[in-house]
């Protein structure tokens, strides 16, 4: 999927725009020479030539108010400043595990701008004093893992990574690590376990990775998009980045828009853009149907009904005020053909399937949630089931090692809160409020198949 609007010259300017051109072999513009032609690696060169101090680099990132793009929105500069200065062995890790349903921005970054990630990681390594780094790339995009390795070769050959980078005396080795199908490895400590060659089961926190990370050493871990935002900040300044967005919500952000819109895809827009504007950029509602609900920040974020989301702007503060989460910036759009019970059933299956099983409330709770929603969807729901769902959800929340537990509970609580009548109708009448053929009309595939037309 291509990007359909771009602002940041160092992140998305070279991206291909044809939404349906998905074949990787036709891609151009991701190579080192193309990235350099767009102004790539100038930030790194500037830092090294001017002998800018690591503290000044961190100060610039703090000024930009860049907040982690992986979901939690933690200020990046602050995270970097937690790294102990004296430690002899430190690591930089990039999180390209991208498995949160609805999120597909990091894939496009890896596809069209792998060098922006590399440059961001080198700058981060310089800032925190790390000598080695890994980019953890999820298994489903094996072809882009290969591309990243090619990009690393290019950077190595150009003296941008390795020993004595650009003659500055800086040493930094960078490698790609391949994931192989486990959503939980997106959780940062699960990811570190996975690089260590184990099951990707999250660790207790504290200690945080900044103190005890990869191989027990201090580690900074950031999302792909976070690293890819760094070159611009160091080239044009923290203020320039901040001013692209709004106070407390610096910069532009990639939004992955999926579901019932005419043009699903990634859109780079300033933080604080009104939601209706993004919907319009995505071509509006498919088939001109009515918007029913939006999950604004990846499947773990609470769902919002149409009237609430239409009044939101796309930034951490506005979405939080509306009762949801900005998350990864994955906007899942649902129209009136969606049965909310069925939608929730599918999400609950996902969390049940992906729970790593360490904590009893999560392992057992996700199973219960799925079982109860499944029976409601299949006409076997009981009047007490809605209370049971909220009981199980609240019993998971806050009682687990990692945030997957909460991520499984929040959709259940929000779906049953905002669309309670649909769940009640299901339980009482043993069927969907939204008739089956109406539901089918919402699927592009099905409409095409019925019309018998080629695309």
């Amino acid at each position: 999927m291509a990007l359909l609007q771009s602002i940041n010259p160092l992140l998305s300017a070279g991206w291909q725009r044809d939404a349906h051109e998905w074949r990787l072999e036709n891609d151009t513009g991701w190579h080192l020479k193309d990235y350099e032609a767009r102004g790539g690696y100038q930030s790194l060169r500037k830092i090294l030539a001017a002998k800018m101090s690591p503290d000044d680099v961190i100060a610039e990132v703090k000024k930009s108010v860049l907040r982690g793009r992986g979901g939690a929105g933690f200020p990046t500069g602050l995270k970097w400043s937690f790294m102990p200065k004296a430690a002899p062995e430190k690591y930089i890790v990039c999180n390209t595990d991208e498995g949160e349903p609805g999120t597909f921005k990091d894939r496009d970054i890896q596809r069209f701008d792998p060098h922006a990630v590399i440059e961001g990681m080198i700058i981060a390594a310089y800032a925190v004093g790390a000598g080695r780094g890994y980019n953890y790339i999820h298994g489903e995009i094996y072809e882009l893992y290969q591309r990243f390795e090619q990009a690393l070769d290019e950077a190595r050959a150009a003296g941008l990574i390795g020993q004595n980078i650009l003659g500055s005396g800086l040493n930094f080795e960078l490698f790609a690590h391949q994931g192989w199908g486990a959503y939980i490895c997106g959780e940062e400590t699960g990811l570190l376990e996975s690089i260590e060659g184990k099951k990707g089961q999250p660790r207790y926190k504290p200690p945080f990775p900044a103190n005890v990370g990869l191989y027990g050493k201090p580690t900074t871990i950031n999302n792909t998009e976070t690293f890819a935002s760094i070159p611009y900040i160091l080239r044009d300044g923290g203020d320039a980045f901040l001013n692209l967005g709004k106070p407390n919500n610096g910069g532009t952000k990639l939004f992955s828009v999926s579901g019932h819109v005419n043009r699903p895809g990634n859109f780079e827009v300033p933080m604080g853009t009104p939601f209706p504007k993004l919907l319009e950029m995505a071509g509006g509602m498919r088939g001109g149907r009515k918007l029913k609900a939006v999950i604004p920040g990846g499947s773990s974020a609470p769902v919002l009904p149409a009237d609430i989301i239409m009044d939101c702007t796309l930034d951490y503060d506005s979405i939080a005020k509306a009762g949801s989460m900005f998350g990864s910036g994955a906007v899942i759009v649902m129209d009136e053909t969606v049965c909310m019970v069925q939608a929730l059933e599918r999400l609950s299956w996902f969390y049940y399937e992906e729970s790593c099983g360490q904590c009893t409330p999560c392992r057992e709770g996700t199973g219960w949630l799925y079982k109860v929603i499944h029976r409601i969807e299949h006409g076997l729901g009981r009047p007490e089931d809605l209370d049971l769902l909220s009981d199980v959800s609240t019993n998971i929340m806050g009682r687990t090692i990692c945030a997957l537990g909460d991520a499984a509970a929040l959709p259940v609580l929000s779906f049953t809160k905002h669309f309670r009548s649909e769940f009640e109708y299901h339980i009482e009448h043993k069927k969907c409020l939204v008739p089956r053929d109406v539901q089918k009309a919402g699927s592009t595939f099905h409409t095409r198949l019925m019309a018998g037309t080629a695309c």
């Binding site: 298994g139 489903e140 072809e143 192989w180 199908g181 992955s256 699903p264 994955a330 699927s443």
Partner: protein
């Protein structure tokens, strides 16, 4: 069941990515290469990986069973994994899977009698804007899989 020289060479390249005392970090990649070579991960294959990386067999088995894309049982020549998670389902993911089931005459987790195709249900592949999406033998992603595209794909799979 020994691994081939070519596979071992690939594993060596992975081992070199990690600090000298952290060979175990290459286990995920080693299992991927072993699966490429053998088609699936039999017990003996897992044991050879363990031996090569100086790891306890159980530790390698734990990794092989934790991650979804390892096959601990034989699969068809072509393993097709279709994403049916919600964002894809909104744009035809489930219907694409239904279409495949009907065409191949098998359900999820089944293999056609001629051993050619295995069908799997997948979770989000980070490509929801391109729905329906599917993976062919883990390593190749296909996008916008409308019926005619699925027909083409099946023809390509010789």
């Amino acid at each position: 069941m020994m691994l081939s020289e070519a596979t071992l060479k690939k594993i060596d390249r992975e081992v070199a990515k990690y600090p000298a005392d952290q060979k175990q970090s290459a286990v995920m990649a080693a299992l991927i290469f072993a699966q490429d070579e053998k088609g699936w991960l039999a017990h003996e294959t897992i044991a050879s990986v363990a031996q090569y990386l100086d790891m306890p067999e159980m530790a390698v088995f734990e990794v092989a069973s934790f991650y979804n894309m390892y096959d601990l049982h034989p699969v068809g020549k072509y393993k097709l994994t279709v994403c049916t998670n919600l964002p894809c389902a909104l744009s035809g993911g489930v219907h694409a899977a239904d279409y495949l089931k009907k065409k191949l005459g098998i359900d999820f987790n089944e293999t056609t009698p001629d051993g050619k195709f295995t069908l799997k249900e997948g979770e989000c592949m980070g490509a929801c804007g391109d729905a329906p999406v599917m993976l062919v033998n883990n390593k190749h992603m296909r996008c916008f899989m409308a019926p005619e595209e699925i027909d083409l794909l099946l023809e390509e799979c010789k």
